[in-house]
């Protein structure tokens, strides 16, 4: 399972970086999204994938008993996903706005502020 996840993470990173190197704005954002997913999956994998009970305290008890999965990577990933949602939403709106103003989706055209 770990190997499969590791290969998936690597593939997602490769795809994301490939997309980032394109000139199209849409692909740029897709690339960033892929990199974000790759990172989330990386954290999830690195926290240790194992078969165990969910870390929920049964009703009426005070502490966890037995084998339970490490909840921290999930908490980290959840936070990262929510933040990723916000940034991607912003990036998409920005892309749309840039498209309306510049009339193209080629990032090489966005050079007026560099002159």
């Amino acid at each position: 399972m770990n190997l499969l996840l590791a290969i998936t993470v690597g593939f997602l990173y490769a795809a994301g970086i490939y997309m980032l190197l394109r000139r199209s704005f849409v692909k740029l954002i897709l690339g960033l999204a892929l990199l974000g997913h790759a990172t989330n999956l990386l954290i999830f994998t690195i926290g240790g994938v194992e078969r165990a009970a969910p870390p929920l305290i049964p009703y009426g008890e005070k502490v966890l008993s037995g084998d339970y999965a490490n909840p921290l990577p999930q908490a980290l990933v959840l936070t990262a996903i929510v933040i990723g949602l916000a940034t991607s939403a912003f990036a998409i709106v920005l892309m749309r706005r840039a498209y309306v103003l510049v009339g193209t989706d080629d990032v090489d055209e966005l050079v007026t502020t560099d002159k």
């Binding site: 929920l56 305290i57 009703y59 939403a89």
Partner: protein, 148 residues
Amino acid sequence: MISSLILRTATRYLFPIILLFALFALFRGHNEPGGGFVGGLLAASAFILYIFAFGIKRAKASLGVQPISLIGIGLSCAAGSALIAPLVTGQPFMTALWGETDIPSIGKLSTPLLFDIGVMFVVIGVILLIIFTLAEEDEKLNFLNQSD
């Protein structure tokens, strides 16, 4: 915006049920899966259904407040719940305080509950802000297309 009679009639009944279910998810979130985030998403989805059935204007009217104020209220709830502990008992910021009495179907009153309610408001506010903006833009576009 024209939607089918079936959708409109069904929405009238589904809308309160979904909101009630959102509250259920919120209160369940103490000890079991659920909570403010899920509750907020459910409540927001009720309003999205409302948009489909009756259009953006009536959905906005039925919400009554601006989504952005909901975000403000929600964040204030969360910040307030975090401040109760240092102000009342002198414990560190954000310490969870639990009441004694168990209220049926709500559970114990506590600062995490207040925090969760805050989260719910923020989620409703954020999602509706996004959806309203998109839907209004859509309506503008539709209007433009028709006038062409």
